[in-house]
């Protein structure tokens, strides 16, 4: 199977490319990147052709593409790739607004190509173990969630609203909303939030707290931020606690680590040795295409998690609860 990569603007592209190289009978077909220097660099690194023209790239022989551009360009690239009959794995968030997300889903359906959204947290081993516990009824009925996704300021286009569509709240809400929806099989119907910019003196949000309510009455708290500074022992976290009628279980996706102490700038560093969730995501995408299966994370999943993140901004702006349609 041949898979191309459209843009290395998002840092996950490197990890996805590394993952593709590990999968037997899969090759990186070509790279498209309008940033000529970056394109040449990755072309040399992965020893594949580089295109700076999208049409030429999409004319190259390949089965699928992985899109890791700036968020604002997801729609354009998804639409073009779908029209060129390529299956698509699109980095999250699916888009910067609901209209674009809907159009992307429709175009992919129209051209009968897969649209999968890159939510690698679904492929974290402890998250998958928790999903299994829930499905087997070990926790009983779910009553509440507590989630966090805090990291460092990614800087660059991420802090330019025109390109990213939003700051930390958009970047770090969609992952955990996706996980909660996956666990519960229900949609968020109420969002109340506070959003601000504390940590980096930037013109975009770097912090947000959200309180959510699902259609079945389950409540959730979520902490999304770019609050972790470079001296902090790790880049950030992904945690979820599920409060059930039989048991409460907490998962920290990056808990499996060494503590490394040194006399450098960072006196304590966490060295993660758990499973590679990015590899799990890429392998799943490849298998879905190979077997002609429905994607495990659909465009609709991307849309619903995007709606919650956008509702958080609206709630903060209006200073009231935002009601979403189930």
């Amino acid at each position: 199977m041949k898979i191309g990569i459209m843009s290395f603007a998002h840092m996950h592209a490197y990890s996805y490319a590394d993952s593709l190289e590990k999968i037997p009978h899969v090759e990186i077909a070509a790279i498209f990147d309008e940033d000529i220097n970056r394109g040449k660099e990755v072309s040399a690194k992965y020893n594949v052709p580089h295109y700076s023209n999208q049409t030429d790239f999409l004319n190259h022989s390949m089965d699928a593409v992985i899109i890791c551009s700036e968020n604002s360009r997801h729609k354009e690239m998804v639409v073009n790739a779908a029209k060129a009959k390529k299956h698509i794995l699109c980095e999250k968030p699916i888009a910067t607004n609901v209209e674009d997300a809907n159009e992307m889903i429709e175009v992919c359906e129209e051209h009968n190509v897969t649209l999968q959204i890159a939510y690698p947290v679904r492929f974290s081993s402890p998250i998958q173990e928790l999903k299994k516990m829930i499905d087997q009824g070990e926790l009983g009925e779910i009553l509440a969630f507590r989630t966090t996704n805090r990291g460092q300021n990614p800087d660059g286009w991420f802090i330019d609203k025109a390109q990213s569509g939003g700051g930390a709240v958009l970047d770090h809400t969609v992952h955990m909303v996706d996980i909660m929806r996956w666990f519960l099989n229900e949609e968020v119907v109420e969002v109340k939030s506070y959003v601000d910019s504390y940590f980096h003196n930037i013109d975009i949000d770097d912090v947000g707290l959200l309180t959510l309510e699902f259609a079945n009455g389950v409540i959730a708290s979520h902490d999304a931020s770019w609050s972790r500074f470079t001296e902090y022992p790790t880049w950030g976290d992904v945690t979820i606690e599920v409060i059930g009628t039989k048991e409460t279980v907490k998962v920290d996706a990056f808990k499996e680590h060494f503590r490394i102490f040194s006399n450098g700038k960072k006196s304590l560093e966490h060295h993660f040795f758990g499973n590679d969730m990015d590899f799990g995501l890429i392998l799943d995408f490849v298998n879905c295409i190979r077997e002609g299966k429905q994607p495990s994370i659909t465009g609709f999943d991307g849309l619903k998690s995007l709606e919650v993140a956008l509702a958080a901004y609206e709630s903060n702006e209006l200073k009231e609860v935002v009601i979403l349609k189930d």
Binding site: A144, L209, I219, S227, T245
Partner: protein, 245 residues
């Protein structure tokens, strides 16, 4: 029968949480106030379980120390010394000092308490008062609760304080005592989890770090004035859903 007046301080507390090793005050822990048979000592702090509340009030009106969550409305004018349990915990005392020393005390505060106490309302009101003392007046509050017919009951309180700090305060009624606290400030992160900070394993061998000294109770307790009671009543109403910020 009229009870003989007890000389000395009577401290009502959860006896399992009293750390006698770190207490300098002269201390006598009693199962019941009945154990004092007319020979009480004015320099002694008699520590008894909170269940002795009625007897303590009947014995004397002064020098009674009790947690805010125990204070009945009818005894508000009795000049009793009230303490907030959270304030007596050493970890929270240290945390408060860190926040007070922050040049820009603005950030994200997350607090989660699991408690076996069935009635958490007054405990929560007291703790909201503590947080408000630290971060400033409440600008906004939003409360979500799980279905009260299902256990465990869980409550999410989202707060926005005057100084810009935002917070999630969460309470679960559970079968163990547990507190988690996090502060994400500007270039400063504080993390505390009582389960992870237990100095003895297996964990059930000790109540630490959720213990406090009698000295901490004595130094933090105060006679609450009308203004504080009004503030606490306001928090109580907010928790009951009867008032809006």
């Amino acid at each position: 029968m009229r009870r003989a007046e007890i000389i000395g301080n009577i401290i009502l507390s959860d006896l399992e949480k009293i750390n006698t090793h770190s207490t300098l005050a002269n201390l006598t822990i009693l199962k019941s106030l009945d154990e004092i048979s007319g020979s009480s000592n004015e320099n002694t702090n008699y520590v008894v379980a909170t269940t002795e509340y009625a007897k303590a009030i009947a014995s004397k009106k002064e020098n009674i120390y009790l947690p805010y969550s125990l204070l009945m409305e009818k005894h508000r004018n009795d000049q009793v010394f009230v303490y907030f349990e959270l304030e007596a915990f050493p970890f929270f005392h240290s945390f408060s000092q860190i926040i007070k020393n922050e040049p820009q005390p603005k950030g994200v505060f997350r607090f989660r308490r699991t408690s076996s106490k069935e009635s958490l309302q007054s405990l929560m009101a007291g703790e909201l008062y503590m947080f408000s003392s630290l971060f400033g007046e409440l600008k906004d509050i939003h409360i979500n609760k799980t279905d009260s017919s299902k256990v465990p009951r869980h409550m999410i309180i989202m707060l926005h304080f005057e100084n810009g700090t935002m917070a999630h305060i969460e309470y679960t009624v559970g079968n163990q005592e547990k507190i988690e606290l996090e502060w994400s400030g500007i270039k400063s992160i504080v993390e505390f989890d009582s389960d992870q900070m237990k100095p003895i394993t297996p964990n059930d061998k000790t109540k630490s770090p959720l213990t406090y000294s009698v000295d901490a109770i004595l130094s933090s307790a105060r006679v609450l004035d009308e203004k504080v009671f009004l503030q606490l009543d306001d928090f109580q109403k907010l928790l009951d859903g009867g008032a809006q910020k």
